[in-house]
């Protein structure tokens, strides 16, 4: 269902420790936001893209599809920034282009950092990490169960959609909307039914309310972490120098 999830499970850095990957991703995100966009943002974007494609060997096709996702937002947002509302209506803002370019560069840097994390680390690892950092156990478990249900319900929704299309449920916008409404209405009880059945299935395995599993935890590689911190220190230095 999600090519992102697939990459997260199959990339070369899958088994690197969560600490290394999240310090790199969140650190770079923070740097991109904290310093003026030029030249920090392009450097962050470059480093994160290289880490994703070269380091973790994430397929470029998957990465490109993801980068393209927020493009519409970026276009409209930047257009708004470049324009200003004056007395004579809309006009080009004096610093508009520079502001738009800066925001765009920062956003792209942020997206590359986010994608690095999303494409190298399964979402469940991040939830487990958040739990160790103090996220309440119940919430973490709901998130983990939700993740599991996503794929099941996603497959169901896709099959329903295919079935509707095969019976011409997509012919025309009105029919399409109706079909989608009916699909969602049918998906809801299916979802709740899934929940009930999983409850029975897990009760049979001795579930009493807590969901404990044994997970493997990759050990932090201190040299790797040192490399990450050095790069971030370098980017920060660049930021101070440019300021």
């Amino acid at each position: 269902m999600s090519p992102v999830d697939r990459a997260a499970h199959l990339n070369r850095w899958r088994s690197r420790s969560l600490t290394e990957k999240s310090v790199l991703a969140f650190g770079m995100m923070a740097l991109a936001l904290a310093f003026p966009p030029f030249p920090v943002a392009p450097v962050v974007a470059g480093v994160m893209t290289a880490a994703t494609l070269v380091g973790a060997r994430v397929p470029a096709r998957t990465w490109l599809a993801c980068v393209a996702a927020p493009f519409g937002f970026l276009l409209v947002g930047s257009l708004s920034l470049a324009l200003q509302v004056g007395d004579g209506g809309l006009g080009l803002a004096p610093d508009g282009l520079a502001t738009a370019a800066g925001a765009t560069a920062r956003a792209l840097a942020g997206v590359t950092a986010l994608l690095f994390l999303a494409l190298t680390t399964p979402a469940t690892d991040l939830v487990a990490g958040a739990r160790r950092l103090g996220l309440p156990g119940e919430i973490a478990e709901i998130a983990l169960l939700m993740y599991r249900f996503l794929f099941l319900l996603g497959a169901t929704a896709l099959a329903m959609d295919t079935a509707q299309a095969a019976r011409l449920g997509h012919a025309g916008a009105g029919r399409r909307l109706r079909s989608l409404g009916v699909l969602i209405a049918n998906l809801l009880p299916r979802s709740l039914d899934r929940a009930r059945r999983l409850e029975i299935g897990l009760a049979a395995r001795g579930w009493t309310g807590e969901m404990r599993v044994l997970s493997r935890d990759a050990a932090v590689s201190w040299p790797a972490l040192a490399v990450v911190l050095t790069i971030e220190a370098g980017v920060a230095g660049l930021g101070f120098w440019a300021r």
Binding site: M160, R167, L168
Partner: protein, 282 residues
Amino acid sequence: MLEAQGLTYAYRDGGPALSDLDLVVRRGRRLAILGPNGAGKTTLLLHLNGTLRPQRGRVLLDGAPAGYGRADLNAWRRRVGLVLQDADDQLFAASVEEDVSFGPLNLGLADDEVRRRVADALLVMGIAELAARPTHMLSFGQKKRVAIAGAVAMRPEVLLLDEPTAGLDRAGLDGLLAALQALHADGATLVFATHDVDLAYRLADDVALFAGGKVLRQGLAEDVLADRAAMAAAGIEPPFLLTLGLAARDAGHLGATDPLPKTRDAALSLVARSWGKSRAGS
């Protein structure tokens, strides 16, 4: 009438792929696409009704390459129906009648015509008495037949069925097979994907052996299923009844032109006859 040429498709999320696949569906025939689970049979069916668009290769309808514009797709799906494996994924309405009317209504038919088609479809599937039943109160086998009726009511020229018999017990299977025979007798072209070699042998005129994203061999059911090399390549064991029938032929208990046994009863009586003969002979 329906043809795939050099179909190639790979999912981005790593699902089963097709690679340079050729297939021909002939009008009025029953074709089994036979292959192991997870080999991509469903992917192939989704190409045959235009849901998926091949990355390379093409699908032809009566010799003309199929188009993927909205109007093209509608025309295509009107001619080529699809029934997925899980009936629960395709029943949306509260009652059987209402559900089966979904397709005909989307065709833009008049109410009278829709009613007629729904009644006909339920009749041919042998479930006329279920018309007013709520869909969630149907048995597994009944749901299956309602799902097929939903496609049949659109009067497609070809009906694609994904694992039509999966999970059915004996009674459900008999009911479904009878319904499919009735459809076939009405002139429908049937294509079904299955991993069940015995089903393919029992129901199909033609078999396409599918493995590794390709059709390894397509031809008359008996020929393909008896082709040991091809079957082994696809990782499929030949149907037991066919093996038995061929052994009987080899042993001289069945003439070279006598029909091979297609049902268990036929096989039993063939064997019983052979023993009768042998006892009489001894």
